[in-house]
Amino acid sequence: MDAVTPFLEVTEAIKELGGEDLERCMQCATCTGVCPWNLVRYFSPRGIIRLAQFGLEGFESEDLWRCVTCNNCVIHCPRGLRIIDILRAMRMMMNETGSVPPSLKGPLGSASNRGNPWSGDPEDRTAWAEGLEIPPFEEGVAHLFFTCCTQAYDARNQKAARALVRVLRAAGVSFGMLTEREQCCGDAVRKMGGEEVFGKLLENNMGLFEEKGVRSILTASPHCYNAFTKDYAEFGGDYRVRHYTEVLDEAIDRGRLTPSIELGKTVTYHDPCYLGRHNQIYEPPRRVLRAVPGLDLVEMERNREDSLCCGGGGGGLWNEVPADERFAVLRVREALETGAEILAAACPYCIIMFEDAVKTLGKEEELRVVDIAELVLDSLEEA
């Protein structure tokens, strides 16, 4: 008889690795319904969980690696299950047996050996800050400016990082940088199931933070923000973490930063999943944009917790995805529909995905992808 037999040892193993919520799934399929993948192809997280409930093979299929951890399923799940952690637990099992898709082998290996997923030379980690004389972080400096690997090694994001540094300086924020010993926050690595590599990165960074007495961390990427507030907390990390849009919002509010030059552009803002849905930070970026004179902020239909993911999270940045299945392409089309000239982003992953999507659609003239810090810098009368 062609039938399957439950293999509950596998289920127990998945639960052991943090996927225990899978037992309480009532298979209602809300997650599948709200998952952005189904805008482009059939992808059923419910189906994968069903297989995990009985430990049946098939969950280790290609689909397991498709999830970009955008959190839309988690906030709608009627049972409140941590669906991302269930899938991550299965990915951890795959990592333990080494059977990881080729596209993710590169970043995982690089993170393990070079402390960043971009195969960048650790020595050049602070190269992007050449000429900005950012002081090293030590006693008396208020915040640690944590460089996201993507900002350190990706050219487009290096430009955004430099803009952010100059804006922070204009706002009189006291911040310093750590040396090359600083490594990747490990968010993407952990979400890909590379728990062991993540452990190495965490140990290095927490040791460094301990050594330097880091209390308050300022991050450019929502992924670092999420790692330091949630993942590091699991291992005793207790830091005051703020995303740069919150710092700029406060500086503007306190009158320490006043963008003055009229930009005369219509702009639409994309809520990055790790700032919005994961951490409910919706208003600070919008207040910053509204504080820039001459910027007309228009909202896309899918905004705040309904925002459509750029597709970069959870290893998505490195997955090969056919053009017609890329969320970033859909999102750029939505941005164009609003008539905006600028798509404002607040996350290095989004910038890469959207720059690629704009090129794919050949819309470079009509829509520019700009980081919020860059917009603020354009509007500052810098000395």
Binding site: M26, Q27, C28, A29, T30, T32, G33, V34, N38, Y42, S44, R46, G47, R50, I75, H76, P78, R79, G80, D306
Partner: protein
Amino acid sequence: MEDRIGFYVCHCGSNIAGKVRVEEVRDYIAGEPGVAVARDNLFMCSDPGQEMIETDIREQGLNRVVVASCSPRMHERTFRAACQRAGLNPYEAFHMVCIREHCSWVTEDENEATKKAIDLCRAGIHRVPLQYPLDAKVVPVNPNVLVVGGGIAGMQAALDVASAGFKATVVERQPTIGGHMLQYDKTFPTLDCASCIGTPKMVSVGQNPNIELLTYSEVEAVDGYVGNFRVRVRKKARYVNTDSCTGCGECAEVCPVTRPNEWDEGLKERKAVYRSFPQAVPITFAIEKKDRAPCVLACPAGINVQGYVQLIGQGRYEDAVRLIMERLPLPGVLGRVCPHPCEAQCRRAEVDQPVSICRLKRAAADRVDLQSLPKPEIEERDERVAVVGSGPAGLSAAYYLRLKGYRVTLFEALPLLGGMLRAGIPDYRLPPEVLDREIDYILGLGVEARTETRLGLDFTLSDLKDQGFDAIFLGTGAHLGMKLRIPGEDELDGVVDAVDFLREVNLGRGGAPGRRAVVIGGGNVAVDAARTALRMGCEEVRIVYRRTREEMPAYEEEIEEALAEGIEIHYLTAPVRIQGKDGRVTGFDCIRTELGEPDASGRRRPVPVEGSEFTISCDAVIPAVGQRPDVSWVREEDALPLTRWSTFEVHPDTLQTGLDGVFAAGDAVTGPATVVEAVAAGRRAADALHAYLQGGDLSSWELTPAVPEQTGEWAEIPEGTAPEARAEDELLPVEGRAASFGEVSLGLVEAEARREALRCLNCGVCSECMACVEACKVGAIDHSARDEIVDLDVGSIILATGFNLIDPTPMTRFGYGKYPNVFTSLEFERLTNATGPTSGEILVRDAEGRFDRPPESVAILHCIGSRDVNYHEYCSRVCCMYALKYAHLIKDRVGEQTAVYNFYIDMRCFGKGYEEFMNRVQGEGVKLVRGKAALVTDKAEDPEEEGRLIVIAEDTILGKMMRVPVDMVLLCTAMEPREDALDVARMFGLSLGRDGFFLEEHPKLEPVSTASAGVFVAGACQGPKDIPDTVAQAKGAAGEAISLSAFGKVEVSPMTSFIDPDLCSGCQTCRELCAYSAIEFDARRGVSVVNEAKCKGCGSCAAHCPSGAAKVSHFTDRQVFAEIEGLMA
């Protein structure tokens, strides 16, 4: 007699014995002092268990019993009864120790569970000897029963109570009983029609002699205790007398105000006077009133603006004019010259622009011939009143005094009546024929007018007294122009004060002031003078004003019209000197000004700019810088007190001057003010004069406020009210307009007036237009009704307050509120109901929201807000079944071929006949998609989906995504508690469960009783349930209430407090602490005494009393100390 304790430890099957080594407990306790018998038993609460106790008591001579088993809340009563049967006093002899819920069920380790059980039992053994006999207090039970809520649960409970011969009072918040069930069309699973099985219940409740129905009423306070509750109920004013109203509905026909009908979930309109639905019980109508509209509050004369605007909207101009004339005699005049402060408050401005109220008043007045109005019968009186001055104040006073029956004589200095209306306001703003028409009407009532008789010249105040006038009203106005006090003003020809100039022209005696005239001033008089000068032939007219356009007091539309007629206005210019040659004006020197600091009146003071003098060549100068009353006629002996602005000094309320019997109002009292204020003051003076003439003591006389006090609550403005431009009246074409005195504004055309009136948002809901009063043949409508308080004495209370549905709007992914064809379940019920918005036809809406065509396909989405930790974790139990009912109704009514898709997680058809119903409906072709719908969108991906709603879900059985295009989406929205559930619970002494519904005493064994003795719950207020379960609970609750009423007495816990008079030092702190004021102070003996009927035994007094004088029986210090000592030994 020493203690002989019987100790019994229960296995409770394996519930206790599973974790607690009961034999070890038994043997340990056997060794404790005073323990005569120690046994264990499989089930102590069983009959053999109880018999074992009874036989031990009889045979072993036990005087105490301790049972260690489950929670005392479960079986304390059972074991006390056993002890009583065996002859012991239950309160003295028995103590129960809980070693199941608090010990075996919650402890992992066997040893720890056993040790804990032993400690708990030992505590009981130490406590029980110190207990002393108590006899349960028995109190009489008032047989009446209160039922709160008139839904199916309330109705059923009331009917059962009544049929048992006891009186039930049903308090229902809505104007009718029936509740949610009567909103449905069919009910599952039998497809009985709700009204066929519901209305008979309603009718019998309505007619049952044992049931008193208090609809449109709410419970406000409850106190007392089981058997003796005192409940205060507020019967909200219905404004319709329930005895005489036959429910004919004539009043609703004529009522102009429409509101969304709550009964139809807002899908259908009803009138301000309404009945929820045709089969309502009671049949009588009710009127919804909120606060008086803001326009009514703003009108100085207190006219019911909303009322006459609505009447105009109905084309009932005569009724409108009659309503206006209750507060103001000159509708046509005021329709033209009133500054309309009401429009500034109109809330329509929040949507687009205020309603054009002033023009509407004119539209009504112009369409009514006053003479044709029925003559008001006047009950003649013989007192005579002299009204001096026929301005707005005088006319108003004369009119209202005449209506009161006084013989009024109107004295006017000028040859024509009307005062400032005649001599001040030019004809192009107020045509004389309109003024005459309205004055003649007043005179027509029998007012005698004497023109060209000036006070102070032709007669004096004392003359009036001599001529037998019983009272005098002075409405002499303010006709003296103020001087510019600049050189050349007095001596030159060509300088004429604006008031004099206008009077002469208006009386047909004046000529053109010159060829080029300059008017000085920024008020209405200045603009009137300028435009009149233009019409008298001046070639060039300029207005000189010291401040800017914003500060000009003249009306906006007047300034516009003046500018349009070519009149030039020099702002920021002040007069310096008038130049003249041989006695004639030749020029006018003035100087530029700037605005400096604000002066006392808050307007910024104009400061001359050095060296900016310039001259305007002109041959006439008309100062219009204010007026003041001419009081030259006042003689010494009149002794009439005047203010320093030479206005009469009057009492603020009665308007009586310093002289007895002499009243005054209008500009003569206030200085130059608006016409409407003068008219209002004239009416107030008439009231005061009436009181004076009837010999009333005016010292305490107060003005009866035109408007009762306000609660600050108006009808909310419905979202999506389409903005509509405000109607503007037609003006004469500009050319040639300035050449004649023809009325510039032509007023509103009838169709425009009717449409403008319908823009009114009816802030006060009922506009008190009194149309219904006339329409009602039995005179049942009484707008002056007030809320009534009723106190009920009842023995038991049944709460059947029902449920709400969750509002699905926040769940944006389902598109409720965004797509017109997404409905909640209750909205769909109304669509299927014959009295609903579509008379029972299942239709979908077009873009404008009108139901027009039947759907070809329908999607029904289950679990919207239910089984969802983000909203309600519980299952609402009823949705699966009514979803199938909807599927059946659609197939049956719209047609076999209509596609129906149910998106479900689990089909819960658990009841009797439910599974069979599902079997049948599936047979009729409903498509069941196993997967919770995730998204409803209108973004089509292929032509087939164009213009339809697409439901997206994964079918977990197929393992495929489904996109189902449909015309209509029904959301099975979760049942949730009423929003005021917490306040109601506190009022009746209940608490709420974690799901927010009323908490029953025990989910399995006591489903309808609550923690508060004598208060029972039934139906959805205790948790989501369908009609069969609701009715079953209603009959259960009625059973409980009937048992109380039938038995006539009830045992009340004897564990109340008492105060030992020997120990009490009379400090009375216990009296202050007692929440039930159950402690009185006996002054003679100087001690506090407990009234045991009122005391509930909470112990607040005992815990405070330092000497221990106040004790609660069964919880004395000694007993608690013994329990603690036993616990820790």
